[in-house]
C-alpha cells in the first residue's frame, strides 16, 4: 500500500513571516495522526496547505503517492476532505442539509443522489427527515454531523479534522468521537486531526506530532502520553500540563 499522506519539507510564509520553516511527516494507512501544540504554532496552516486552501507553500505533499499540486480540483476533492472547528460557520445558512449534501454528489456526477444522501445521514446517525432542515434548526452537534456527512459523501481517503469537537459540549463530543471511530473502522479512511485535548488525542490517534513555533518537536505514539515518555522539553511540558490539568490544577 502506498503512503496515504506524505509531507516533505513543507514551508510556508505569510509575507516576511515564516510560519512553517520545514515540516516533514508521513501518515500510515488507516492511521489517525494527531497534531497538537502551541496556539499559533501552525497546526491549522498545515491542514490548509494539504487541502490546497493555501497554495503559496513550498515542498512536497503527496496523497497516495500523487502530489496534491498535480491533482485537479475534482480529483483533490475526492481524495481529501476537511472538517473545520466551527460547526456554525461551516454550513451555508440558507442552504438546506439536502442542498449542502447533494451539491458535491452532483458536481462529481456520482449518481444515485437520494440513495447516497440517505446512506450518509444514516452513517452519521441523523434521521433522514433532517435533510429538509436548515442549519439554524440544528444544534451544534447536529451541524457538526452534517459537516462530517458532507466531508464523507465523496468517500475521500483522507479526512482532515481541525479541532472537530472543541466547540461542542462533552456529551456531543462523545457522540462525534464515537461516530468517527466507527466510520474509520468501517470505511478505513486515514485522518489527520488537530486537537488541544490530549485525552481526545489519546482516544482517537495512533501517533501524534507536538508542534512549537512551526516545527515538529517530536512525534510520539499514543502510549507515550500517560507515562509522559516525551524527550523534547516542550513536548514534556505540554504532556505534564495536560495530565495535571485533568487531575487538578
Amino acid at each position: 500500500m502506498t503512503t496515504p499522506l506524505a509531507i516533505e519539507n513543507l514551508s510556508m510564509r505569510f509575507g516576511a513571516v515564516t510560519v512553517l520553516p520545514d515540516v516533514s511527516f508521513e501518515v500510515a494507512p488507516g492511521e489517525c495522526f494527531g497534531l497538537v501544540g502551541e496556539s499559533g504554532s501552525g497546526k491549522s496552516t498545515i491542514l490548509l496547505c494539504v487541502s490546497m486552501l493555501l497554495s503559496g507553500w513550498e515542498g512536497r505533499i503527496a496523497i497516495g503517492g500523487r502530489a496534491v499540486r498535480d491533482m485537479s480540483l475534482m480529483e483533490r476533492c475526492r481524495s481529501l476532505q476537511m472538517v473545520f472547528q466551527d460547526p456554525y460557520g461551516s454550513l451555508h445558512p440558507r442552504q438546506s442539509v439536502r442542498a449542502a449534501l447533494s451539491e458535491p454528489v452532483r458536481i462529481h456526477r456520482l449518481g444515485d443522489v437520494d440513495a447516497r444522501l440517505e446512506q450518509v445521514m444514516t452513517d452519521v446517525g441523523l434521521p433522514v427527515s433532517f435533510l429538509d432542515r436548515y442549519p439554524h434548526q440544528l444544534s451544534g452537534g447536529q451541524r457538526q454531523r452534517v459537516a462530517i456527512a458532507r466531508a464523507l459523501i465523496l468517500e475521500p481517503s483522507i479526512l482532515l479534522l481541525d479541532e472537530p469537537t472543541s466547540a461542542l459540549d462533552v456529551s456531543v463530543q462523545a457522540e462525534i468521537l464515537n461516530l468517527l471511530q466507527r466510520l474509520r473502522a468501517e470505511k478505513g479512511f486515514t485522518c489527520l486531526m488537530v486537537s488541544h485535548d490530549l485525552a481526545v488525542v489519546d482516544y482517537m490517534c495512533d501517533r501524534f506530532a507536538v508542534m512549537q513555533h512551526g516545527e515538529i518537536t517530536e512525534i510520539l505514539p499514543r502510549s507515550a502520553i500517560l507515562p509522559n515518555a516525551a524527550t523534547h522539553p516542550y513536548a514534556r511540558q505540554l504532556i505534564d500540563a495536560s495530565i495535571a490539568y485533568e487531575n487538578a490544577m
Binding site: 502551541e38 472547528q85 466551527d86 488541544h196 490530549l198 485525552a199 490544577m249
Partner: protein, 281 residues
C-alpha cells in the same frame, strides 16, 4: 460567600418568535468568586450571559430581580447600560474573531479601547496595548499588533479579546468559553490572569464552559443548565459527586488520558431532566 455583586431571581428569556423560552426560571447569586455555568450546547448559557449585559435585542427578558450592585438591570436605560458595558461589566464573547472589526489591525483596536477608558497620548495607548498583549502571553506582541483579525490563529484571537477586557478594570466579567481555543499551557496562564482579578481586584467572574476539568478545578461554584433551566448548583469541588443524571452523564462522556477506547458513554436524554433536583439551591 461575600456580599453579592449580582443577584438574579427567576430569570426567563424568550427569543422573539420562539415557541419556548430559551431560559426559564434561572436564579443565582454571584459574590467575589468564580461561578461556572456548564451545560450542553443550546442549553441557554450564552443567552444568560448576554441577558446580563442586556445584549439581546430580539428577546424578551423577564425576572423577579436582576440586580448588579446598585443598578437594577431590568429597568436600567440603554444609556446606563452603555456606561456599564465594557467598564463595570465586561463580556468575553464565544467567537472572538467575530467580535473584532475585520478591517482594522488587532493592536489598533486595543489601543482604541485604551483611549476610550483613559486620557492618554496615542503613543502611550500603543505601549499599553503592547503590554496587554504581553500580559496574555502573546510571544511577539509587535507582530500581532500589526495583524488583521483573519491573520491571527484561533487562540490569539481569544487572547486579544481578553486583553481588551483587562483594560477596563471591570467588577463583573462574563467569560463565554474564554479558553477553549487555547493550548493547555497558555490556558493555564490565562486562567491565572482571570484568577488574579478575582483574588486581587475582588471581581465576580462568570465562566461559561463545557470543559468539566476547568470548572471543577478553577471555579468555586457551578450551575448546571439543561434545556434552559438551572438543574443543579454545586460547589465545584463536589462536581464529581453531582446527583443530577444529566451532570453524571456529562462526567461519564469525557474521555480521559489513559482511559479505555471503548465507545464513550453518551447521554440518553429524559424529559423529566428539566425539573430541578430537590434539595439543591
Amino acid at each position: 460567600m461575600t456580599t453579592p455583586i449580582l443577584e438574579v431571581e427567576d430569570l426567563t428569556i424568550r427569543y422573539r418568535g420562539a415557541p419556548q423560552p430559551a431560559v426559564q426560571g434561572a436564579s443565582f447569586t454571584l459574590g467575589r468568586e468564580r461561578l461556572g455555568i456548564v451545560g450542553e450546547s443550546g442549553s441557554g448559557k450564552s443567552t444568560v450571559g448576554r441577558a446580563l449585559m442586556r445584549l439581546l435585542p430580539t428577546a424578551e427578558i423577564g425576572a423577579a430581580r436582576m440586580q448588579f450592585g446598585r443598578t437594577d438591570l431590568l429597568t436600567a436605560s440603554e444609556r446606563q447600560m452603555r456606561a456599564l458595558r465594557g467598564n463595570r461589566m465586561s463580556m468575553i464573547l464565544q467567537d472572538p474573531k467575530f467580535s473584532l472589526n475585520p478591517i482594522r489591525r488587532c493592536g489598533e483596536q486595543i489601543a482604541e479601547a485604551c483611549l476610550a477608558h483613559e486620557r492618554m497620548s496615542k503613543r502611550a495607548a500603543k505601549d499599553r496595548a503592547l503590554a496587554m498583549l504581553e500580559a496574555v502571553q502573546i510571544r511577539d506582541p509587535q507582530l500581532v499588533y500589526d495583524r488583521y483579525p483573519h491573520q491571527v490563529s484561533g487562540g490569539m484571537g481569544q487572547r486579544i479579546m481578553i486583553a481588551m477586557m483587562l483594560l477596563a478594570g471591570p467588577e463583573l466579567v462574563i467569560a463565554d468559553e474564554p479558553t477553549s481555543a487555547l493550548d493547555v499551557t497558555v490556558r493555564l496562564e490565562v486562567l491565572k490572569i482571570l484568577d488574579g482579578l478575582v483574588r486581587e481586584k475582588g471581581i465576580g467572574l462568570i465562566m461559561i464552559s463545557h470543559d468539566l476539568n476547568l470548572v471543577r478545578n478553577f471555579c468555586d461554584r457551578v450551575l448546571i443548565m439543561y434545556a434552559g433551566r438551572v438543574v443543579e448548583t454545586l460547589d465545584a469541588a463536589e462536581l464529581d459527586n453531582a446527583r443530577h443524571p444529566y451532570t453524571r452523564g456529562l462526567l461519564a462522556a469525557q474521555p480521559r488520558i489513559g482511559g479505555s477506547r471503548d465507545p464513550l458513554p453518551v447521554l440518553e436524554r429524559r424529559p423529566e431532566w428539566t425539573r430541578p433536583m430537590e434539595g439543591t439551591a
